[in-house]
């Protein structure tokens, strides 16, 4: 079953929770990824790595204007063309323009969240450019016409059987559930695309200011192919991706990899600093960099610079008890899901109302903060966003009267006891589930039970139990 990402939040979650296959796939993938991450970081000085990774990213955001100018100067000195885009539309127009000027008909793309964020594929297709995703996972969801559901494992919501069916239909593959065979089918098809493409497109994991270098992290090698084989190479990067030095990129690469998949390093780490040099047999003849703001400056202005430290490893998704139940598509039409997505999506959205539910999609348990390689305090950001989103005027009248009534009751122990007894008695009139949980409160409390159940009141209150215990003769075993 597919989740309708344009449906309201409550509906998306309900669809996800009722999809047994999705929940199986999610449980397998997230527990395995977070398990591998735990093993991997246990082998190193994790505390030190997080502090250093954080220090590098903090430095980069503090010095963003200077570093971006240094990066630009060095990229130009390396023979690259640098473009700036304030919005998603501007960025898309720039790439479409390059394609038009160079007569590009087919483009291959290496996995990139920023191009998902700005919906580059649609824009290029509208401009008459065929664009093919080359990361195996992204290719699968492109064939299925779905958005990615995870930052690093985009097809985490699909089972091998689903993928096989898709490949049989779209690639004419023979029926098989063997991942190696499916992979070979995709390799063959995509190899042809790489060699025939007029343009290669990638995102950017880190950009090194001192050398003018765009770094791409992949395991499959599609990053290296897209940046090496087609005659034109275009990198689309969010402005927060710049780091000062070569060493910083190497450290962050290792921090990202361990947090994302638990590997020491990814198979490929490609550092591109310009078009092919004279005398070289291959490599692109042109290299373009599109620097995209798309709301990032405004994020700093609004006091959420912490989110720009993110290195997109996905560790917070894999560990999040909410993500693990509802999956990426429940977060709606966004490139970013999970805890980081719940913060970034409303901040990047043109209309924040479309994502107003996301900051509440968290139990604030704090595991996301613990696993983050750059120590982003996500629970705190979620709380701040919640308060930003609700701080529009005073609370409704019923809420104020309810608080007044509650204050009146808890001021006196006698009133409190009496109220408890009354509530317990009244609760027996409420509808319950088979296991005895209360499924619906009367309005206005019904909003709370829309997505939750309330445990049945026990027959005796804590006070009653305590009282009884105090009056009983003590048995020796009670002390054990």
């Amino acid at each position: 079953m597919n989740i309708d990402v344009s449906a309201p939040y409550q509906q998306r979650v309900a669809q996800a929770l009722s999809d047994h296959n999705l929940r199986t796939a999610l449980e397998r993938a997230t527990s395995r990824l977070s398990g591998k991450r735990d093993v991997s970081v246990a082998a190193i000085e994790l505390r030190e790595l997080r502090n250093e990774a954080r220090a590098i990213k903090e430095h980069a955001i503090r010095h963003l204007p200077e570093l971006l100018q240094q990066l630009e100067n060095n990229l130009i000195a390396n023979g690259c063309q640098v473009h700036w885009a304030q919005t998603a539309d501007e960025a898309n127009a720039i790439v479409a323009d390059i394609a038009r000027q160079r007569g590009v008909r087919r483009a291959v793309k290496s996995k990139s969240m920023t191009t998902e964020e700005i919906h580059l594929n649609h824009a290029l297709e509208d401009a008459g450019v065929g664009i093919v995703e080359t990361d195996l996972g992204e290719y699968i969801i492109q064939l299925a016409d779905e958005p990615p559901s995870h930052i690093t494992a985009p097809v985490v919501h699909k089972r091998a059987e689903d993928i096989s069916e898709l490949f049989q239909r779209e690639l004419g593959m023979r029926p098989t559930n063997d991942p190696a065979e499916m992979c070979a089918a995709a390799r063959e098809r995509l190899r042809g695309e790489f060699l025939a493409a007029d343009m290669g497109i990638s995102g950017c994991n880190f950009a090194i200011a001192e050398t003018g270098t765009i770094c791409i992290v992949t395991n499959e090698g599609n990053g290296r192919m897209a940046t090496s084989m087609p005659p034109v190479y275009v990198a689309v990067m969010g402005i927060e991706k710049v780091v000062p030095r070569v060493e910083d990129a190497l450290l962050l690469w290792q921090a990202v990899t361990r947090s994302a998949t638990g590997q020491d390093v990814t198979v490929y780490f490609s550092l591109s600093s310009g078009p092919r040099r004279p005398g070289q047999p291959d490599g692109p003849e042109e290299m373009h960099i599109v620097l995209v703001d798309n709301g990032r400056s405004r994020i700093i202005e609004r006091g959420y610079a912490d989110t720009l430290l993110c290195v997109r490893c996905g560790a917070c998704l894999n560990s999040c008890p909410v993500y693990r139940e509802i999956g990426g598509h429940s977060y709606g039409q966004t490139a970013y899901s999970g805890p980081i997505g719940a913060v970034v999506t409303p901040l990047l959205a043109a209309d924040p109302a479309t994502a107003k539910d996301l900051p509440f999609a968290s139990s604030l348990c704090g595991i996301c903060r613990e696993v983050c390689p750059v120590k982003i305090d996500l629970p705190r950001l979620l709380l701040d966003l919640r308060s930003d989103l609700t701080r529009v005027g005073t609370p409704p009248k019923y809420e104020r009267s309810a608080i007044r009534a509650y204050t009146h009751v808890v001021e006196r122990p006698g009133r409190y006891r009496w109220m408890l007894r009354l509530t317990r008695w009244l609760s027996r009139l409420l509808p319950t589930s088979r296991s005895g949980d209360i499924t619906r409160f009367p309005p206005p409390l019904s909003a709370w039970t829309q997505s939750r159940v309330f445990p049945r009141f026990p027959s005796q209150s804590f006070r009653q139990l305590w009282h009884k215990r105090q009056n009983q003769p003590q048995r020796p075993s009670d002390n054990g």
Partner: protein, 245 residues
């Protein structure tokens, strides 16, 4: 840069400057230290093993393989042996490999040995034309040297240059890497430090257009987290480490 792009540049930089000025405490919390100089060595260097043993063990653990050639052995013969193993044809049938030029491989008498074994190499000067690209893409063995290799992760670095195509270590299903001992370092960080101290790091990164760190064969876990090899890059990576000192 177009007009709109130049205007966007000014707006973005001005916007950033004013936003950064406005926000005195930029982050909820800060680690309160500046750039680590130099950054830590993330993965500890091998202690109880030699660099060669550690490199071989790491690469093997990552589904690659590694041969260590003793000083008195013939490196070229090992290269021939490996290629013949991958391409099972009768001895008189020619094999063509996609390769770097002989001068880039640091192995004595390699050209002669390959020629004697009826192995020809294709070291293109130019891979722009479709017919040349198709020819290169059809070959199943790629032969390259390395710019550097790292013992604690089993990684190599390739940099393109005249006589050193990117394609040789990227397109064929099998990648044969020749690693001279003099280019083997314990860690990335140790290598970076040497280059930095010699003032060569910046030039090495910029001047070749692309440097690639490669750690084992191409792989993916996108299909239900099943490990599959050879998604886009080589499926088989074999290193031959030899003493060139």
């Amino acid at each position: 840069m177009g007009d709109r792009s130049a205007q966007a540049r000014e707006e973005i930089l001005d916007g950033l400057k004013s936003a950064l000025q406005q926000q005195q405490a930029l982050f909820r919390e800060t680690v309160g230290r500046d750039l680590p100089d130099p950054p830590m060595t993330v993965f500890p260097p091998p202690e109880d093993r030699s660099l060669v043993e550690s490199f071989a063990a790491r690469l093997t653990a990552l589904s690659g393989s590694c041969d260590v050639v003793r000083q008195d052995e013939d490196v070229a013969a090992r290269v021939v042996h490996q290629i013949r193993q991958w391409v099972p044809t009768s001895a008189d049938e020619p094999i063509e490999v996609l390769s770097w030029e002989a001068g880039e491989l640091d192995v004595a008498r390699l050209e002669q040995s390959l020629a004697e074994a009826n192995i020809t190499w294709f070291a293109p000067h130019e891979l722009r034309e479709q017919s040349v690209r198709d020819h290169a893409a059809a070959l199943v063995v790629g032969l390259t040297g390395v710019t550097a290799a790292f013992a604690n992760t089993g990684s190599i670095v390739l940099t393109p240059g005249p006589g050193r195509s990117r394609a040789a270590g990227l397109l064929p299903l099998h990648h044969l890497v020749l690693v001279p001992l003099s280019r083997l370092y314990p860690t990335f960080e140790a290598w970076l430090l040497v280059l930095r101290q010699q003032g060569r790091l910046e030039a090495l990164v910029r001047d070749s257009g692309q440097i690639a760190f490669i750690t084992g064969p191409s792989k993916s876990a996108d299909i239900e987290l099943n490990l599959t090899l050879g998604v886009h890059g080589p499926k088989v990576v074999h290193a031959i480490v030899f003493d060139d000192t």
